[in-house]
């Protein structure tokens, strides 16, 4: 289980070693593109999509990118009904969503991982705790711990604290359990167990940080890029006390016909996203870049299919 934690960066394609990872193709402007490119989907990817589309429109001034953010589920619907050509999602499509897409189009949608988001654990700034183990995190968040230990933790003293705080329960804060973040945590952290009903589910990552900043006994999980001075980020440790990170992939779904491929504009957009400059933008906005090998493989896949048409 904890070995799996180390390899949390789950791509859709198996990594393969590429000869020259530097200077990936795809960033150079070739043919002029015009028209509209519509994306509909995830809230959490929204700011990044804005940045990417601005950069993209600078490259192709005659192309107009429209972005709508209404949650990951809207991406699946919009792609199925062809009202959008790109669907940013913070989770993979569920089986029902994939089936519906296949029923309409006759082939499965294509998921392209575009960036990684690091999840971090935050506590109040006055909290003396510095690090927490993943197993302790599971025991805190799970209603009935499933992974290794059967014991649930509720109080700060269970995490080794002393003083007045140790007598108090740990107030848990996080995103809403229907969100992509929580589906990911449910699989990777809780071993498919259930979250405690006492977990405070707040509407956004910024709300989680604010809530933790105001609660002395609070502990919250949110995207690492939302960190502020009012909270302290805890180090995450595995059972061997090595520092690790919780990362999950963010995706852009695409209506990719196996024979005729996707539109030129969509492919150009994805090439820009997966290029060095696109990933650089993601890093500047607090996300993590995909490993170079994975990117070149993805680019190759997109490029090869394009040539085949």
């Amino acid at each position: 289980m904890f070995n799996r934690m180390l390899a949390l960066v789950v791509g859709v394609w198996i990594l393969a070693v590429q000869a020259s990872p530097a200077a990936l193709p795809g960033d150079e402007t070739t043919t002029p593109l015009r028209g509209n490119l519509t994306t509909t989907g995830s809230d959490s990817l929204n700011s990044l999509m804005q940045v990417w589309s601005l950069h993209f429109m600078r490259q192709y001034p005659e192309l107009n990118v429209q972005i709508q953010a209404g949650g990951s589920a809207t991406a699946a619907v919009a792609l199925t009904e062809s009202t959008a050509s790109l669907g940013p999602m913070s989770r993979l499509m569920t089986a029902t969503e994939r089936q519906r897409f296949e029923r309409v189009h006759g082939y499965p949608p294509l998921a392209i991982p575009v960036a990684l988001e690091t999840l971090a654990v935050f506590v109040h700034r006055s909290n003396p705790l510095r690090a927490i183990r993943l197993s302790e995190l599971e025991q805190l968040f799970s209603v009935e711990p499933q992974c290794q230990s059967a014991k649930a933790l509720r109080y700060w003293r269970d995490l080794g604290l002393t003083g007045p705080l140790s007598q108090r329960t740990v107030a848990l804060f996080g995103r809403n359990s229907a969100s992509g973040t929580y589906g990911f945590l449910k699989q990777q952290l809780l071993c498919h167990g259930d979250f405690r009903p006492e977990l405070h589910e707040l509407p956004g990552a910024a709300a989680v940080i604010q809530a933790v900043a105001l609660a002395e006994n609070g502990l919250g999980i949110a995207g690492a890029r939302h960190q502020s001075a009012a909270v302290r980020r805890l180090q995450l440790l595995n059972e061997q006390h090595d520092v690790i990170e919780l990362q999950r992939s963010l995706y852009i779904y695409l209506n990719y016909h196996p024979d005729t491929a996707a539109g030129m504009a969509e492919l150009a957009f994805l090439r820009m996203v997966l290029s060095d400059s696109g990933q650089q933008l993601a890093v500047e906005h607090g996300y993590e870049a995909l490993p170079t090998e994975q990117r070149s493989l993805l680019l190759q896949q997109l490029g090869v299919k394009q040539n085949a048409s």
Partner: protein, 570 residues
């Protein structure tokens, strides 16, 4: 003249049209929700088809075998294996670093085992022993935990066939049944044309079923699953899910974790909505009614208008602001100053009442007529109460609560959460006060003045006239006002999303939070896959809310109608 006549007619028609349009729109929303929710309660089916349009990827689930083995070896695809003997001896192995480690060993007391399966992707073990009940067990660490048995047909069982992590087939002579494990429900049933089944195959997406007979022929079937994890039992009764020690009401939706079937109990959400409304009404009702009665009966005309206007302005305040203030100012303050809050709650009304009583007695002793006390007479005890509370709280906390009320509560097993029902009571109470206030004020001030004057003429005091004449007459109207406030509280969303933790808890504990139907709708709707069970249950929640508020608002209208008639009769 003619033109004016036509204009009159047209405007009358258009008004009627708009009125009916609104009614139609409302009916349409209602029908749409019912139409959307209806499939949730439709039974699944297995229906024969000629052959699937395109040959899907088949998975063989069952093959007729001849002899009975002494031991059953089962695998669930999670690196776990179970070895089961016919007498019920069970050994459960886990794969760790290439070797199989014994995790648990147990002896189940049962009649000789006829068949057993381990559901794929889950830790649930199903055991059949010849009776019409299939036993369901799961492993939790080193323990086997029993779940409620699943009733199958009482004809002899030929085989159990695992389908998914929460469903299985039971094969009987001439009959194939599809069962759901969590709710122990029969999903669908199929009469088989022959007893001699050789091979059972299921397609990749579990939509198609292929049965091969020993005679060499095959039949194809389509499985209509509908919504296997939604039933009355799962929505409203405690369910024993895998991985838990006892049955519980669970609202746990993870759209992203595809493999886990959603746990959709509406009980915590309904209780959350009722709890929020209850605490809001507890806070708002006495304040709003007393303020309205005072405004209607005691305030001079000039002031009445001002107070009423400002109250109505308060009604238009966006609730998102109230929610924000409650979450980021009130909640942390209350956590720090919980005892002070209770002291103020206790001291302010009691000191004000006490001082009015003292003032009244003092005036009577001096043989002066008891008038209304001036505002300064009220202000002095008010300030005194606040001062006393501030001075007394640290002392009381030190002396009685060992230095901290929160820790004192914690030692007695009362968990104080920062975002709790008290905060909601105050914030949402503030949002519903204006609606209760303005209707109550209308009703009380519209009581025919002749009634009160008659009582006053007989020598009653103002308070006697109010309590014995005006309030009883206006009572149905006040009830309508309270119900109107309740309707508003049940439908409130923004304050609940922002100021509660959206925790799907049970019970009416004032120090814990809640998750309401409305908050769940607005938080989860954007993430739920369209027309999934989760999505449809959210629509069911919306329908429930619509029916509830519709019912309450109808009641309000009926009560208002009655009070209007009563006033006309007087």
């Amino acid at each position: 003249m003619q033109a004016r006549h036509y204009f009159d007619k047209i405007s009358r028609w258009s008004v009627t049209l708009v009125g009916y349009g609104i009614l139609l729109a409302f009916a349409f929303i209602f029908l749409f929700l019912i139409w959307q929710v209806w499939p949730l309660f439709q039974a699944g089916s297995i229906s024969p088809v000629a052959s699937p349009d395109t040959e899907p990827e088949w998975h063989s689930l069952y093959q007729a075998d001849t002899g009975q083995q002494a031991e059953l070896h089962l695998d669930n695809g999670l690196q776990e294996r179970v070895v089961l003997q016919r007498d019920g001896a069970i050994r459960w192995y886990l794969q760790q670093d290439e070797s199989w480690q014994l995790q648990l060993r147990d002896q189940l007391t049962m009649a000789p085992l006829s068949d057993a399966v381990l559901l794929p992707g889950s830790r649930t073990l199903l055991l059949a022993d010849g009776s019409a009940q299939v036993q369901s067990w799961f492993r939790l660490h080193q323990q086997l935990i029993a779940r409620p048995g699943i009733s199958v047909s009482d004809t002899p069982l030929l085989a159990l066939i695992p389908v998914s992590s929460s469903s299985f087939f039971s094969l009987h002579p001439g009959l194939l049944q599809l069962h759901q494990v969590d709710s122990a429900r029969l999903l669908a049933e199929l009469r088989l044309p022959s007893d001699r089944l050789q091979h059972l195959q299921l397609s990749d997406d579990r939509q198609w079923l292929r049965l091969d007979w020993q005679s060499g022929t095959s039949n194809w079937y389509q499985i209509q699953w509908q919504h296997p994890s939604v039933s009355f039992t799962q929505l409203w009764l405690p369910v024993h899910y895998e991985g838990r020690r006892e049955p519980a009401y669970v609202w746990q939706t993870a759209a992203a974790a595809d493999d886990a079937s959603p746990k959709l109990s509406l009980v915590p959400l309904t209780i959350g909505t009722l709890k929020a409304a209850w605490y809001a009404m507890l806070f708002a009702t006495p304040l709003a009614i007393l303020a309205a009665v005072y405004t209607a009966c005691y305030l001079p005309e000039r002031w009445r208008y001002r107070v009423k206007a400002s109250m109505e302005m308060l009604e238009s305040m966006p609730t998102v602001i109230l929610g924000f203030i409650a979450a980021f100012l009130l909640a942390p303050w209350l956590e720090q100053q919980l005892l002070l809050f209770f002291m103020l709650l206790l001291l302010v009304p009691s000191l004000v009442l006490l001082s009015s009583a003292v003032w009244y007695c003092w005036r009577q002793q001096r043989q002066q007529q008891a008038e209304q006390p001036g505002w300064f007479v009220l202000l002095i005890p008010l300030l005194l109460a606040v001062w006393l509370a501030y001075i007394g709280t640290p002392w009381l906390e030190q002396w009685w609560f060992d230095g901290s009320l929160l820790l004192w509560l914690g030692e007695r097993g009362i968990d104080y959460q920062q975002r709790n029902a008290l905060i909601i009571g105050m914030a949402m109470g503030l949002a519903v006060i204006p609606s209760i206030f303005s209707l109550t004020e209308d009703v009380v001030s519209q009581v025919p003045p002749s009634l009160a004057q008659g009582v006053l003429a007989l020598g009653a005091s103002r308070w006697q006239a109010l309590s014995s004449m005006v309030l009883p007459v206006a009572a149905p109207g006040i009830l309508a006002a309270v119900l109107l406030g309740l309707g508003r509280a049940l439908g409130e969303t923004m304050i609940l999303i922002m100021a509660t933790g959206n925790t799907p808890l049970l019970g009416f504990d004032p120090f814990t939070g809640m998750r309401s139907l409305t908050a769940s709708l607005s938080l989860e709707m954007p993430e739920a896959a369209v027309s999934s069970s989760h999505f449809k249950v959210l629509l069911l929640a919306a329908l429930l809310l619509l029916v509830l508020t519709f019912f309450i608002n109808t009641l309000v209208s009926v009560l208002r109608q009655r009070i209007r008639q009563r006033y006309q009769q007087l």
